[in-house]
């Protein structure tokens, strides 16, 4: 609870945005972002995540619904009067201004004194680790440095919320990982709300307190990274976040904790995460890292299938197996601990058992039948 009483930093209530008859960017989107959170909006391109961010920033006006920042309705406030700042995808640094002047830009608009400006800019330069680069122009900077300038410039105004629109998408993989950690550090230091838009689930998982998964202009699920990964709300979320194995079938038996499901692979047992009765159609999933691949017969009470190793991808820290079972590939990931001593016995085209503990599966959907 803040001094002005609002719990949420940003609230969207039934926001709909239609660009023209054929393009509905957001359908009835409701979101609540807590103060100080690192909140990500995750989704494939064209899902409406950038539009959502632009609505919060004030660059688009919703056709319907309410936008609140710190409890105050801001639907009609232009971007220059909202207490939020944005880091643009292409940085949008002013090419005619030096690093120092880019960061000082919002302060000069506020007619601050030279000494105040100097002090604030220097603090920001320190925060984003750009010491010594102040006099350079944007074209003299690397991608990562431009990113830092954009961050400093957006933060120097001390906004209540920082909006980040795929800020790392134009950096190479290694730098992206590093900048992500930097973002996390800066978030901890400034303590304001960050709303981060990305299509990269690994990015979102690694830094977010909460993630909203969007698809086709709709929020599919909001939750912490483990919630979204372990208990996805639907097939889209399950498939979008990480790799997974889906099974569909009819319930043939129900016990207090488990369901027996008749699938095209035979009868499998799955954990009863939701209520279901005999005859219902259910969809459940098992994540690859919970699936074992062995030549030996699996232990008791495990779900198991027989198949043939179709692909085996050795990735150093782990190996990915793709096992062909009844014309379907089942994915498995094996983390290596003592590779030379225990492992590497499975090779291409081997006949293997694919098995998992029924407790590890997750029941996504039940359709009455």
């Amino acid at each position: 609870m803040d001094k002005d009483g609002a719990v949420y930093s940003v609230e969207l209530e039934n926001v709909t945005k239609i660009f023209d008859e054929s393009t509905v960017a957001m359908k009835n989107v409701s979101l609540k972002v807590k103060k100080g959170e690192f909140f990500s909006i995750l989704g494939p391109s064209g899902c409406g995540k950038t539009t959502t961010l632009r609505i919060i920033g004030g660059f688009e006006t919703p056709n319907e619904g309410t936008v609140r920042i710190d409890g105050r309705r801001v639907n009609n406030l232009p971007p220059n009067r909202r207490p939020v700042n944005m880091v643009f995808q292409n940085y949008a640094l002013f090419p005619h201004l030096s690093v120092f002047e880019n960061i000082a830009f919002p302060l000069r608009l506020k007619k601050m004194t030279e000494s105040e400006i100097r002090e604030k800019v220097e603090y920001m330069v320190e925060l984003v680790k750009l010491k010594g680069q102040e006099r350079k122009f944007p074209r003299q900077l690397s991608g990562g440095q431009k990113q830092r300038v954009a961050l400093a410039r957006a933060l120097v105004n001390e906004p209540r919320v920082l909006l980040l629109d795929e800020p790392l998408s134009s950096l190479d993989a290694k730098l992206r990982q590093y900048m992500l950690m930097e973002l996390d550090r800066i978030h901890d230091e400034v303590g304001i709300t960050f709303i981060y838009v990305t299509h990269d689930q690994a990015e979102a998982m690694s830094v977010s307190d909460e993630i909203a998964v969007m698809n086709n202009g709709v929020i599919e699920q909001v939750g912490t990274p483990p919630e979204i990964y372990e208990s996805p709300a639907n097939t889209f979320v399950a498939g979008f976040i990480g790799e997974t194995n889906f099974f569909v079938g009819k319930v043939v038996d129900v016990s207090s904790e488990y369901l027996k499901v008749e699938t095209r692979f035979g009868i499998l047992t799955c954990y009863k995460d939701k209520e279901a009765k005999i005859g219902d159609t259910v969809e459940f999933m098992i994540r690859p890292e919970k699936v074992y691949v062995t030549k030996n017969y699996p232990p008791q009470n495990m779900n198991f299938l027989r198949g043939k190793v179709d692909q085996l991808i050795y990735l150093g820290s782990h190996t990915k197996y793709y096992i062909m079972v009844e014309n379907t590939l089942i994915r498995s990931i094996k983390q290596h601990t003592r590779y030379w001593m225990d492992e590497s016995t499975i090779s291409w085209d081997d006949e293997v058992y694919v098995w998992w503990n029924p407790d590890d599966s997750y029941l996504i959907k039940v359709t009455g039948g």
């Binding site: 920033g57 220059n80 005619h96 830009f105 608009l109 105004n157």
Partner: protein, 252 residues
């Protein structure tokens, strides 16, 4: 090939420069070196200097006006992207393709029908009009290169529309604005056809003065004047290049 092209381009000018030092009055043969035409030009040709002064006044004011109005127009067209932009575009391009003689005649008709006395002021209006198209074109081309997220960034950081124009758009478009000013200046200072129609008594510009001098036969004084103009133009070009480099240095 290049050499031939260069000869074609520069031979007439070379002749002009050489003959400005020729002591022959008719200029047909080389009669020996002299500086008397320069003396004549500087000491006994008040008409030429009057024309030069008029040309300068018109060029400075018309290009300043055109640059100001044209830049504002370009920013408006670019930023607000009105639905009738194509229509606006056509109207801006049109003066570039309409023959000068038509422009001249039409402006003369306009001024006469509005009972505006022909003077330096009408020349100024005419020059501002035709320079405008060039300014809008050049500045617009410069603005098209900008990412529109720069404007959004400025607004996001707290700038009003006016502040965005003043602190972001104009500084970024500055090389284009300066280039369009120089272009307008050049166009104005050597315009003959349009000026010819809209000039009134006592408002003779340098090109008009030269033309009237030539009518009474080739005067070596004109050669001397031309030599000075060519020299001045070369000097300005060199300075301009240095200056442009300096402006362009601040760009990304």
């Amino acid at each position: 090939m290049t050499v031939i092209v260069l000869i074609f381009l520069y031979a007439p000018i070379m002749f002009l420069v050489i003959f400005s030092f020729n002591s022959s009055v008719t200029g047909a043969n080389w009669m020996g070196f002299t500086l008397k035409w320069y003396g004549e030009l500087f000491l006994r040709s008040p008409d030429i200097w009057e024309g030069f002064k008029n040309s300068l006044i018109v060029a400075v004011f018309s290009s300043l006006t055109a640059t100001f109005i044209g830049t504002m127009a370009a920013i408006g067209i670019h930023w607000y992207k009105p639905s009738f932009r194509r229509y606006i575009n056509f109207n801006i391009y049109a003066p570039l393709i309409i023959p000068d003689i038509l422009m001249g005649v039409s402006m003369l008709m306009l001024f006469v029908s509005m009972r505006i006395r022909l003077s330096l002021f009408t020349i100024y209006l005419a020059h501002t009009t035709f320079s405008l198209s060039y300014v809008v074109l050049v500045v617009l081309a410069r603005l098209e290169n900008f990412d529109s997220s720069l404007l959004e960034a400025a607004m996001d950081l707290g700038a009003s529309e006016f502040q965005t124009v003043r602190r972001v758009i104009i500084p970024m478009a500055l090389p284009g604005i300066i280039a369009s000013f120089l272009l307008s200046f050049t166009l104005s200072i050597d315009d003959f056809i349009i000026t010819f129609f809209v000039a009134g008594p006592g408002s003779t510009t340098l090109p008009l003065r030269i033309f009237s001098m030539i009518r009474f036969g080739l005067s070596p004084v004109v050669n001397a004047l031309s030599t000075i103009l060519v020299g001045g133009a070369i000097l300005l070009t060199l300075l301009g290049r240095k200056f442009l480099k300096y402006i362009l240095a601040g760009e990304g």
